[in-house]
């Protein structure tokens, strides 16, 4: 492969990334997941917290039968009645509930007098959980949580990591010594334990989870930025900024940081995946994002009780597969990025 003179490194990296089949597949799947997470209400048949208790713990491909009842509190969200059969009788509808009890309801209390509107046979593609909530719907909404955790937590980690790493690598001396001491202290805790510890300190909840994961995962970034800055600092263009009288801030952020960007980008895709795992782990042990907000870790934990019974393994399996795909895709994409950005592999 011949590199045309004058091409920017970004163009070269992009072309090499496109040649990597794994990275392209990863990118496409990742893009799809982001679109699905954003468009969740459009592609899911239910609201993630809609419960149909009569249809709890149903296997995949279960088809229910429901009547939509007018909801006086919220006209846009009808109440749902599970039925095993129903029959129109003039102005009212008689139905048997799944337990076989007969009931009668006036048509005016239903969503519409038209059977095509008040009755439906929804398909639960991946089955339902123990509250009769659609697993597919919750999976898609759970993706929102996972992807936003990856995005927000990783941004926090990047901000802390870049700042501390840059300061240590640029100023050296006692600044480096004290920052590295702090880095070593934090590094002494396995990341997931640190996340758990911060979650205990901050309390349970959506934002607390993001922050706990973010402030636990910056150490690798700080180390790599510091290392990069150590070598970049010796180069002539940095010396030139000093000769020109540029301030430290300008030199660090305008001139040095862009040249350390490659490894940082690679590391942050890996961090993105780690953040998703950390959130799921937290939810799995009951910290983290709290119900009814759907999260993959919670769904896995909900299904855990059924596994030992050997039934309804889908409740655990489907969110596990979703998470595996997300993390796998990020790892493959990260590997591709590393190869594309690393000049050492350019001959391949």
């Amino acid at each position: 492969m011949s590199t045309v003179l004058g091409e920017s490194p970004r163009v070269v990296a992009w072309r090499r990334l496109k040649k990597n089949r794994g990275a392209v597949i990863g990118m496409v799947v990742l893009g799809l997941m982001i679109v699905m997470a954003i468009c969740a209400p459009l592609i899911t048949p239910f609201d993630p917290s809609t419960q149909i208790l009569e249809y709890s713990v149903k296997p995949a491909m279960f088809r229910g039968s429901v009547l939509y009842k007018r909801n006086p509190a919220d006209a846009s969200r009808p109440s749902i009645i599970a039925v095993s059969s129903f029959e129109e009788r003039g102005d009212s509808v008689t139905y048997l509930d799944p337990a076989g009890e007969p009931y009668t309801i006036a048509k005016t209390n239903l969503m519409s007098t038209d059977v095509a509107i008040y009755h439906d046979e929804p398909l639960f593609v991946l089955g339902t959980d123990r509250f009769g909530r659609d697993i597919f719907t919750r999976l898609i909404y759970g993706m929102r949580v996972s992807l936003s955790v990856g995005l927000i937590s990783e941004s926090i980690a990047l901000a802390i990591g870049i700042l501390l790493g840059a300061l240590a690598g640029y100023f050296r001396g006692w600044v480096d010594d004290s920052i590295m001491w702090f880095v070593n202290v934090v590094w002494s805790f396995p990341t997931i334990l640190l996340v758990v510890a911060f979650s205990v300190i901050l309390g349970k909840g959506y934002w607390q989870t993001f922050v706990a994961i973010g402030i636990s995962s910056w150490v690798d970034i700080a180390r790599i930025v510091r290392g990069q800055f150590f070598s970049i600092r010796e180069q002539e263009y940095v010396e030139a900024t000093r000769a020109l009288g540029f301030g430290h801030v300008r030199t660090i952020f305008r001139h040095m940081l862009p040249n350390a960007a490659g490894p940082i980008i690679v590391l942050s895709t890996a961090g993105f995946a780690t953040a998703i795992i950390a959130e799921a782990s937290l939810s799995f042990i009951g910290l983290g994002v709290q119900p009814p907000t759907p999260s993959w870790g919670q769904m896995i934990k909900d299904g855990y009780g059924y596994i030992a019974l050997g039934t309804n393994w889908g409740m655990t399996l489907f969110p596990s597969i979703a998470m595996a795909i997300a993390v796998l895709v990020l790892n493959v994409f990260g590997d591709g990025l590393r190869d594309a950005l690393d000049p050492k592999t350019s001959q391949r």
Binding site: W181, F182, N184, V185, V186, S188, F189, P190, T191, I192, L193, V196, A197, V200, I201, L202, G203, A273, I277, A280, S281, F284, I285, G286, L287, I300, Y304, I307, A308, G310, W313, T316, L317, S320, M323, A324, V327, L328, N331, V332
Partner: protein
Amino acid sequence: MATYLLRKLLYTVLVLLGVVAVTFFIRPPGDPARVLLGQRADEASVAAMREQLGLDRPLYEQMGIYVKNLLSGDLGTSIATQRSVSETIIERIPATALLALTSIAIATVLGILLGVIAAWRPNTWIDTLTMSTSLLGISLPAFVVGLLFVLIFGVALEWFPNSGYIDRGIEHLVLPMITLAIRPLSIIARVTRSSMLDVLGQDYVRTARAKGLSNVRVFLHHALRNALNPVITTVSAWFAGLLAGTYFIEFIFNWPGIGLAAFNAIEKLDYPMIQGTVLFTAVIFVVVNTLADLVYGFVDPKVRLS
């Protein structure tokens, strides 16, 4: 060598001080006594709890007491069980150590083996298979692997029991051990492969081949030995991740180790117990890494002088 040793130890003590400071602050937000007793508890019992936990004293005094107790090996008293945290941890060390050590042993042996096999014939089906399986192994968190193993080998195939300790038979060790080994195994296999490929491209390997040595001999004697350095670094670095992994594995397989104690403590916000287990894990990690550093310094003079 003596100055290196001394410098290293002093620094370790400094890091441990920081670690203790961090663990001291692991407590529920706001007023821990109120969080533990719930919103409906009356003021008197909350005040009593606060006094029992020493929360009525100023923060610096609490910290002083915490450090003083630590130095005498006292990690506090569990709120949930009213037992000494250090005693609970000590009696659970064997279970966790057994799990962690057998796992890292299996992961190291199998990981190097798989990595060498993949590097033996790079870019063939066996290499692709090994590398994609290991990518999956890296992508799945330990608790998910554990649940899948319970489902496949415990419930569906009924090969191994999916819960309990070895006092009911050695077969209880199999599933938790393998589950815990999956992630380090995958990483070790990948590191071994890339390190082998690096080494195989170097001149002395070509020289060995040119001398007419057999492929197997070049591969195992000349290449593998030199390829192992990054692998050893990976193994020691992974030990901490492994210890954290035991928390989830012990919960899933009901393995009575330190992780299970920590897990139960987290559910009840029993923070002296959480502090104790987290501190224990961190201290083990610092000690293991310092030892690894010292060994490197001993073997390689370059490390010592930097």
